[in-house]
């Protein structure tokens, strides 16, 4: 059986031969492409550790069949920073100690980036809490996560005004 897809992964066009039709996007990333930044916490869409952006929107990579992604634009944690320069959300997570063990962090950050693209939270922590609730953090770094998302929104809003982003 041969099955291949063409995707844009972190800005790079890739032709990928799938060795098995059962492969999820998560196992494609982690076990075939060795992009292990995206984490597997539950493999059934309940924890959010595998959150990536497909066409700019947040999805659970564990619930997404790789074969369904023909032509899709996919962004993972590995594609977020620009060289050594961290994305504002990444920097905000460090600044606000928005993680402890770090295992959910790539998913949290992708979720936060997706959230800020989907809809502004307008500085409202309640909106952040609600819209980040698909990403579990067992260490309980939620207070820092909320602060980090609000901070990143302020920063990216300023950059948008200046025409940077």
């Amino acid at each position: 059986m041969s099955l291949s897809i063409q995707i844009t992964l972190n800005g790079e066009r890739r032709n990928i031969a799938l060795d098995d039709p059962r492969i999820t996007l998560l196992d494609l990333l982690r076990e075939r492409l060795m992009l292990t930044g995206t984490k597997k916490g539950c493999d059934r869409g309940q924890c959010g550790a595998c959150t990536v952006l497909v066409e700019g929107r947040r999805v659970n990579a564990c619930l997404t069949l790789a074969a369904s992604l023909e032509g899709a634009r996919i962004e993972t944690i590995e594609g977020v920073a620009t060289g050594a320069a961290l994305h504002p959300v990444q920097q905000a997570f460090i600044d606000h100690d928005a993680f402890q063990c770090g295992f959910c962090t790539p998913g949290q950050i992708m979720s936060a980036i997706g959230l800020l693209r989907e809809a502004r939270v307008h500085g409202d922590p309640e909106r952040v809490r609600e819209q980040m609730s698909g990403n579990l953090c067992r260490c309980g770094a939620y207070a820092g996560i909320v602060e980090a998302v609000l901070d990143a929104e302020r920063l990216t809003a300023r950059e948008t005004e200046r025409g940077v982003a």
Binding site: T38, C47, Q91, I94, C101, C139, G140, G144
Partner: protein, 758 residues
């Protein structure tokens, strides 16, 4: 947190230590970019994937597995069952220490709990191994499972609870105390089975090279794990190499090496290739430990002044049918409240579950929610404010032992927390506060406490020819911040800047880093680091004062100080020399010092050593729907010296949120017919999500403890769970007048008596 100014200048200019500074996580960039390598991120050459098949019954034996069907599936390489599992040098049902647990590694066809591993399928891909495991279609001979923890006829008194505490302790006469009381409270509180659920499963990547074994797996105690593996496989401990640079959460369940990890290693041995085995989330509800359920009965007597005359705390718990860990819940009543009579007792029933284990605040968390609820009921019985009642029963010495506390600033925790929370505005009677939207508002309080525990650790300090330093120890960072906090201590111990100090940890070939558990890692390893640094500096001083070419020649050793990479004679800046110059002249590439950290038994004999805190919670309850939300939490904690307030605050937050989960969310439901857990996932087993946590604050109360250890460190990892859960339960009572004694408290409890909340 706001009390601490961020670092604005190098330590040399600040003339301050790194300890105490809110340094950002040194592993932060690795974690936010996805480059931090967790166990399952490893892919050695020619690696295969293994998937466990687990039992769907709780008691009986496996009588058939369709191995042929699994093997016929494309990509499946091998199926490991009791028939072909490689031999072990040690019986996995042997147990030598309280920190070692019996394993289920296919030693026979017995099933003793649901989700027990019964086979392992090894394949080229994860997909093929998963399908192969499903094709095994096990058949069982089912035997009745004992699941009822309330089966009194089966109850027994364990020899010890927790990791070796007596099952019973008594001071004074409870009957006399109760008889002399003018008010009494007796109530039973039930807590459920809970599962650690770290975000990262217990993944393992195992590679054999002859008799040498390399494993990538999360471990809170690499040296113990290394010894365990050496024993199981009959190899030298030096031939076992464990890498555990980042744990995706631990919370106790990665303290001992567990069955799935050993199965991954066995699978690698069977096929002669590296193997990755990652338990599924569902498979984490069985072979990987849990917090046992409890049923706790408290009997309290009070006199007219609201002082306790008796405090009796009995806890029933469970263990597995084949191994022992008994949740020491009643022992929380040893330390917090003064009473002339205290009695703590435990008994237990064996049930067909996986063996319970240490889980964040083992005994303290489950005991605290019962004790703090009962204390609240006692305050109400006396018509007293819950804080006033706690202050009336404040313990000036440890009640169970009569020992003085090494330090105790609980009073300041109460005072600072109450002020920040606004406790003085609390209306005494329940059901008497509402917000602008008509929601019932309740304010509750819980006292937090956790003992000072130290394990043993060793460290090696190195001063290099270029004047920079290295500190090495097999410490483990499960998120608490070891990479950062221990590096801060290392820099101070060598009198260097943080960025001049390399901190190496996270692998088993380094000096024994002890255990990242019991809230004792920073205290244990930190003091070992401090000792190693001082040892290295002392050697350097000896070298300098003996060297005729050194400006320090002839100065008495105790007159030489180290500061920021230089040795100096007292305040005489002219008699000063850099580390680099001393080593260069001596022709040395490096100088090594050694350190060890462990509890001082003599201090433990003389003092009771505990961290303390006070947690205040506000809960709002919808009077029509019964919906509950924790809208505010303020915790104030005194836990000895704080190495990094940023990381400590995060630890307190994490603990408090675990307390919230304990009070309102977490419960594993067992099917009484099959013994299977019905909510073995993260969708139905609820852990707090972001929206469950509104405003949360943690105040660090400064506490100088001259006794606990050289650096004065207590521990911060677990205390936040205690106090918090009870505070929320008490707030719900205050909001609604409903005293719920079965946890977690759920919406249905608000209507349990058929009445509406409002």
């Amino acid at each position: 947190m706001s009390d601490f100014a961020p670092i604005t200048a190098p330590a040399r200019q600040r003339q301050q230590a790194s300890i105490g500074q809110p340094v950002k996580r040194r592993d932060g960039v690795a974690k936010v970019t996805g480059s931090a390598t967790y166990a399952a991120d490893n892919h050695p050459q020619a690696m295969l994937h293994a998937v466990m098949a687990v039992a769907t019954i709780a008691n009986g034996r496996v009588v058939a597995l369709d191995v042929d069907a699994a093997k016929a599936h494309p990509g499946v390489v091998e199926v490991m069952t009791p028939a072909n599992r490689p031999p072990l040098a040690k019986n996995p049902d042997d147990r030598d220490t309280p920190f070692m647990f019996r394993l289920d590694v296919l030693q026979n066809d017995r099933v003793r709990y649901a989700n027990q591993p019964i086979a392992v399928v090894i394949a080229d891909t994860f997909e093929a191994a998963t399908e192969g495991a499903a094709l095994l279609a096990p058949q069982y001979e089912i035997e009745p499972a004992q699941l009822d923890m309330h089966a009194d006829s089966e109850a027994f008194v364990p020899q010890a609870v927790g990791p070796g505490a007596p099952a019973e302790s008594h001071v004074g006469d409870i009957d006399v105390g109760l008889a002399g009381a003018t008010r009494r409270v007796e109530a039973t509180y039930d807590t459920p089975a809970q599962y650690h659920n770290p975000m990262e499963p217990h993944a393992i990547v195992a590679t054999w090279d002859g008799d040498k074994l390399t494993v990538d797996t999360p471990s809170q105690a690499m040296t113990i794990a290394r010894g365990r593996l050496a024993g199981l496989f009959g190899i030298d401990a030096d031939d076992v190499f464990i890498r555990s640079p980042y744990l995706g959460g631990g919370f106790g369940c990665k303290g001992a090496l567990m069955s799935p990890q050993v199965l991954g290693i066995l699978a690698a041995k069977l096929v002669g290739r590296p193997v990755k085995l990652v338990p599924t989330r569902a498979q984490m509800y069985g072979p990987l430990g849990h917090r046992a359920p409890t049923s706790q009965t408290l009997r309290l007597g009070m006199d007219d002044a609201g002082k306790l005359t008796a405090l009796a705390h009995h806890a029933r718990t469970t263990s597995s049918v084949f191994d022992e860990f008994f949740e020491p819940s009643a022992n929380i009543s040893h330390t917090l409240y003064a009473s002339p009579a205290i009695s703590t007792t435990h008994d237990a029933v064996r049930v067909h579950t996986g063996t319970p284990m240490f889980m964040r605040g083992p005994g303290e968390a489950s005991g605290s929610i019962a004790l703090e609820s009962a204390i609240d009921e006692a305050a109400h019985a006396c018509g007293m404010d819950p804080l006033a009642f706690r202050l009336a029963n404040y313990a000036d010495v440890e009640p169970i032992s009569g020992k003085p506390f090494s330090s105790k600033r609980l009073y300041d925790c109460y005072a600072q927390g109450a002020q920040r929370f606004g406790w003085a505005k609390r209306v005494l009677a329940p059901r008497s506060m509402r917000d602008d939207n008509g929601l019932l508002v309740g304010w509750g309080l819980g006292t937090a406490t956790f003992p000072v525990i130290m394990f043993e650790a060793e460290t090696r300090a190195i001063i290099r020819a270029d004047g920079t330093g290295v500190m090495e120890t097999g410490a483990q960072d499960m998120g608490q911040g070891a990479w950062t906090a221990l590096a801060q201590i290392a820099a101070d111990s060598l009198k260097l800047e943080l960025d001049q100090t390399v901190f190496r940890a996270g692998t088993s070939d380094l000096p024994d880093g002890g255990v990242a558990g019991g809230s004792g890692h920073t205290a244990t390893v930190g003091n070992a680091i401090d000792a190693a640094g001082r040892d290295a500096i002392a050697r350097l001083i000896e070298m300098a004062i003996a060297d005729v070419e050194s400006p320090l020649h002839g100065v008495a050793a105790d007159q030489v100080e180290a500061r920021w990479g230089r040795l100096q004679a007292g305040d005489d800046a002219a008699r000063s020399e850099s580390y680099a110059d001393i080593l260069r002249r001596a022709g040395l590439r490096e100088l090594v010092g050694h350190g060890r950290g462990r509890a001082d038994a003599d201090v433990g004999e003389r003092y009771a050593m505990h961290a303390h805190g006070a947690v205040f919670a506000e809960v709002k309850v919808d009077p029509d729907l019964g919906q509950m939300r924790v809208t505010r939490m303020v915790g104030a904690f005194a836990a000895g010296r704080v190495i990094n307030p940023r990381m400590v605050e995060s630890q307190f937050f994490g603990g408090m949120i675990w307390g919230l989960g304990f009070a309102l969310h977490e419960k594993a439901d067992t099917d009484a017919r099959t013994g299977r857990i019905m909510n073995a996932d993260l969708g139905e087993y609820h852990v707090p999500v972001n929206a469950d946590v509104a405003n949360i604050e943690a105040l660090i109360v400064n506490e100088d403890d001259p006794h606990v250890n050289v650096l004065g460190i207590k521990g911060v990892g677990e205390i936040g769970v205690t106090g918090s859960a009870g505070a929320i339960a008490n707030a719900i009572w205050h909001a609604t007048g409903k005293r719920i004694r079965r946890f977690p408290i759920r919406v249905a409890d608000m209507f349990a008596d058929g009445a509406t909340v409002g």
